[in-house]
C-alpha cells in the first residue's frame, strides 16, 4: 500500500510475480521498487524521500526466525542507500492486516500516526505524543487510543523527531530498525508511529509442504548448539571468545586488551542480571534478554553491540550501567552502535586533550559511564556539543580537527567486530551498500564462529587476505537473500532448508544458485543506486584506526591487507577496477541491462 501523508491518499500497488521472483522481498525488492525514486538531489529529510516498510515472503510465517521486516529509504546519515531490518511482531502483523508493505510518501501537515486495521487506514493526530512520549510510552498510548491491546506499533522517539541521522524505529519489547537513520526519515514526515492490527492468513503456495518443512527446520534450529548459546546468553554469547581472539574492540578501537571485558559478557549477564528471555514472532531461539536492575522494573537487556559500545569501548565494566545506557538510547530512539561510537570518540578526544571538559559538560574519563549518559542527553536535545554529536562521529572528529579519527565508513559508524581479527569484515564494512555494517555480511561468523555453510565447508583463516575476497562476496550474496526473505541471521539452518522453505512458500521452485543470484542481483542494484547517489571507488575504504595494528591482545600486530583484498573483491564481483562500478557485462548477466545504461551513461 502507498500512503501520501501530504494528501492523505492511499493506493494499492500490485507486484508482478516476475518481479517477486527476481527480488523476493525485503530490502532486495525495496531496492527495485525505490530505484527510480532515489536521486542525488533528493533530500533525505524532505517529503519526497520514500520510506518503504516491507516484509518478505517468509515474514510472519512460522518458519525459522522469520518475524522480521525491513525499512528502506535514502539515508540522512550516509546520503546513500538506507536499509535496516527489525524483528518483533510488527512486520508479521502488517501481513496479517493484508499488506506486504507500506510505501510512505510526503509529509503530514502536523504530527500524526497511522492506524491500520485491515482495510481501515487512518491518519490520526499525534501532537500529544510528539515531544512527550518515548518509544515505549508511544506504543502504550496508541494501543489505548485505537482500542486494540494487540495492535503492534512501530514508532520514533525524540531522536527521530529531532531528525538525528542515527535515530531508529522501535517496536514491541525494544526491537529496532537501528541503522542508517530511518527514525529521522519518519520524523521528517511528521509521522510518529505506524500502528497495525490484523488477523488475515499469510499466503503460502504449498502449505502442507511448508508446514512439514518448517516444523523440521524449527526443531533442528532449536536443538542446535548455536541456538542454545544464543538462548542462554543472548547475542553476546561469544563475548569471551571474541575478546580472546582480539575481535572485540576496546577503548574506541585503540586497545586490544581490557581486563574488565570478562565482567560484561552475555554469560555474566545470564549469571547476574538475567530474569527471562524474549522472542520475536514464532522464533525458537529467543535471544532477547530480560534483566532486572536493583530498584528498577524488569526491562530489556543489552545485546552484543550495545555491551561492547558502552562497555569495553569506554573501558566500562559495569553491566548495569551499560544496560541503562542502552535503555536510554532505546527510549530516545537512538541507534546504540552509532551513539556509542560517537561517545567513544568523544572519550578518546578528551583523553588526548582535543576535547575539553567545558565543551563536554564535564569530564569524560575512561571507565566512567556518567559521561556517556550526559552525552546521550546532550545529543538528543542537540544541546551544546550535542549539536555536533547529533551529526555523528565524523562530524565530531571534524569539529575537533581530526576527522580521520572517526571510525566510520561513508558516515555510518563501525559495528564492533574488528577486521584486525576477522579480515573478512574489512570488505564487509568497506563495500556494504549502507556504510560500515555487520548486517550485510557478518563474516566474523565465518572467520571465527567457523560457519562454513556459505563457502562449501572450507575453513577460512581469519587473518587471510585477498584469497577470501570471493568468499566474502558470496557471503554477501547469501546475506542479501536473508535480508530479502526477511530471515534473522541467527537462524543457522542449512541453505538447502532455506531453499525448500522459500520454494514451498512462493511456489517459484528456485534452484539453489538461482536463489543466491537474487542476492547478487540486489547487491549490484544497490551498488548502482549508490553510484547514482554519488558513491565512487574512493568510498570503498576503511578508517585509519582499523588499519592500525593493536599492540596487544589476540590480534596484536595484524591488519588486513585491504588494498589487495579490495582488488580481488572487484574481480570476484565483476566490478570495474578503476571506478568500482559493476561492469556492463555483470549487470547484463544479472538481468540488469537497463541499470547498466544508467550506471555507464556518463561514459
Amino acid at each position: 500500500m502507498t500512503i501520501d501523508l501530504t494528501s492523505g491518499r492511499t493506493a494499492t500497488i500490485s507486484l508482478e510475480p516476475a518481479l517477486l521472483r527476481r527480488y523476493l522481498g525485503g530490502s532486495a525488492l525495496s531496492a527495485a521498487l525505490l530505484y527510480p525514486r532515489l536521486t542525488r538531489d533528493l533530500d533525505p529529510l524532505g517529503p519526497d524521500n520514500p520510506l518503504l516498510i516491507l516484509n518478505g515472503p517468509l515474514s510472519g510465517t512460522a518458519g525459522p526466525s522469520v518475524g522480521r521486516f525491513t525499512v528502506c529509504a535514502k539515508s540522512p546519515a550516509t546520503g546513500l542507500w538506507a536499509e535496516s531490518n527489525c524483528g518483533g511482531f510488527f512486520g508479521p502483523e502488517l501481513r496479517f492486516a493484508g499488506y506486504e508493505g507500506l510505501l510512505i510518501l510526503g509529509k503530514a501537515p502536523s504530527p500524526a500516526y497511522l492506524w491500520i486495521h485491515h482495510d481501515h487506514v487512518e491518519l490520526r493526530p499525534a501532537e500529544h505524543l510528539w515531544g512527550q512520549a518515548d518509544t515505549y510510552l508511544t506504543q502504550e498510548k496508541i494501543r489505548v487510543e485505537v482500542g486494540e491491546r494487540l495492535a503492534r506499533v512501530l514508532g520514533i522517539g525524540a531522536g527521530g523527531e529531532r531528525l538525528i541521522p542515527f535515530s531508529l524505529l522501535l517496536c514491541d519489547h525494544g526491537r529496532v530498525a537501528g541503522r542508517t537513520g530511518m527514525g529521522a526519515v519518519m520524523g521528517s514526515k511528521n509521522l510518529k508511529a505506524v500502528a497495525v492490527r490484523g488477523t488475515r492468513k499469510i499466503p503460502i503456495a504449498r502449505e502442507v509442504e511448508f508446514n512439514r518443512l518448517r516444523s523440521a527446520a524449527n526443531l533442528e534450529l532449536r536443538n542446535s548448539t548455536t541456538s542454545t548459546v544464543f538462548r542462554e546468553m543472548g547475542s553476546a554469547n561469544g563475548s569471551e571468545y571474541f575478546d580472546f581472539m582480539g575481535e572485540m574492540p576496546k577503548r574506541y578501537f585503540t586497545r586490544g586488551v581490557f581486563e574488565g571485558a570478562e565482567r560484561v559478557s552475555g554469560a555474566v549477564m545470564t549469571e547476574t542480571l538475567l530474569t527471562g528471555v524474549s522472542t520475536c514472532h514464532a522464533c525458537v531461539i529467543a535471544c532477547g534478554r530480560k534483566v532486572k536492575l536493583p530498584g528498577e522494573a524488569e526491562g530489556k537487556g543489552p545485546e552484543y553491540e550495545t555491551i561492547v559500545g558502552f562497555g569495553p569501548q569506554l573501558l566500562v565494566d559495569d553491566l548495569a550501567a551499560i544496560t541503562r545506557l542502552g535503555r536510554s538510547c532505546d527510549a530516545y530512539g537512538l541507534d546504540t552502535i552509532s551513539m556509542s561510537n560517537v561517545i567513544g570518540l568523544a572519550y578518546l578526544l578528551y583523553s588526548e586533550g582535543k576535547l575539553t571538559a567545558a565543551q563536554a559538560g564535564g569530564p569524560l574519563e575512561w571507565g566512567d559511564p556518567s559521561g556517556a549518559e550526559r552525552l546521550i542527553h546532550f545529543t538528543v536535545r542537540r544541546e551544546g556539543l550535542g549539536e555536533i554529536l547529533a551529526q555523528g562521529a565524523r562530524a565530531l572528529g571534524r569539529h575537533c580537527g581530526v576527522e580521520e579519527a572517526a571510525v566510520q565508513v561513508n558516515n555510518l559508524e563501525v559495528a564492533y567486530h574488528d577486521p584486525r581479527a576477522s579480515s573478512g569484515m574489512a570488505l564487509a564494512y568497506a563495500t556494504s551498500p549502507r556504510g560500515a555494517c555487520h548486517n550485510q555480511s557478518d563474516y566474523f561468523m565465518v572467520d571465527l564462529w567457523k560457519d562454513t555453510s556459505y563457502s562449501g565447508g572450507e575453513l577460512q583463516d581469519p587473518r587471510a587476505g585477498a584469497e577470501k575476497s570471493a568468499d566474502v562476496a558470496l557471503h554477501q550474496d547469501w546475506r542479501t537473500v536473508h535480508n530479502a526473505l526477511v530471515q534473522c541471521f541467527f537462524a543457522s539452518v542449512p541453505l538447502e532448508t532455506t531453499l525448500n522453505l522459500v520454494n514451498a512458500v512462493t511456489g517459484f521452485d528456485y534452484l539453489l544458485d538461482e536463489l543466491r543470484q537474487v542476492g547478487e542481483r540486489a547487491w549490484n542494484l544497490k551498488r548502482a543506486i549508490n553510484h547514482r547517489l554519488g558513491l565512487s571507488r574512493a568510498n570503498d575504504t576503511l578508517p585509519k584506526a582499523l588499519l592500525t595494528p593493536y599492540a596487544e591482545g589476540g590480534s596484536a600486530g595484524l591488519v588486513p591487507d585491504f588494498p589487495a583484498m579490495l582488488l580481488a573483491y572487484y574481480a570476484a564481483r565483476g566490478w570495474d577496477e578503476a571506478t568500482g562500478r559493476p561492469t556492463r557485462a555483470t549487470l547484463q548477466r544479472l538481468g540488469l541491462g537497463e541499470v547498466a545504461d544508467d550506471v555507464w551513461r556518463t561514459d
Binding site: 548448539t225 546468553m233 569471551e240 564462529w449 562454513t452
Partner: protein
C-alpha cells in the same frame, strides 16, 4: 613413542601436559568442572575418558572401565572416533566441531562459553600429544 587414543595412558599423558602448560593454566584459571570425553563407534560401546579440571590444573584423569561406578561429571563431550581424530589432527576446528554438532556438548553452556579460551588451549595441548589412533 605414540600414545594410543582412546586409552588410560593417553588421558594421563594429557593430564601431565596440561599441568605443564602455562598457556592452559592462564586460560583456564577460572574453569571449575570435570568432564567426560565420549568416543562413539558405529559397532561397539563408546569409550569414556574422564578428566577433572580445576582452575588451570588437571587433578585427575583416567579411562573409565566400569561405567556404573564412574563419577558424575559437569560436562560430557561426545563425538565419533572420526571426528575426535580430525580435531586432534587439526583437520577440524574445535569451535566448528561444537557449533555444527560434530562434537556434542552436554553441561552448563554458560560456563563453557565463558571459558572458550580455556577450551581452545585445552585442545591445543591435546593436539601436541603424539597419538596413535585405535580405530
Amino acid at each position: 613413542m605414540a600414545t594410543p587414543f582412546p586409552s588410560d595412558a593417553w588421558i594421563k599423558a594429557l593430564k601431565d601436559r596440561l599441568n605443564h602448560t602455562a598457556a592452559y593454566a592462564e586460560a583456564a584459571k577460572n574453569w571449575e568442572g570435570d568432564l567426560y570425553f565420549q568416543v562413539d563407534y558405529a559397532a561397539r560401546a563408546p569409550a569414556l575418558l574422564y578428566v577433572d579440571l580445576w582452575h588451570g590444573h588437571c587433578r585427575d584423569a583416567f579411562a573409565v572401565t566400569e561405567t556404573e561406578t564412574a563419577p558424575k561429571a559437569a560436562f560430557r563431550l561426545s563425538a565419533s572416533m572420526e571426528n575426535f581424530i580430525k580435531v586432534l589432527k587439526r583437520e577440524l576446528d574445535p569451535i566448528q566441531a561444537m557449533v555444527t554438532g560434530k562434537i556434542k556438548v552436554q553441561g552448563n553452556m554458560v560456563m563453557m562459553m565463558k571459558n572458550i579460551p580455556a577450551v581452545l588451549e585445552f585442545v591445543r595441548t591435546a593436539q601436541q600429544i603424539e597419538t596413535e589412533f585405535l580405530v
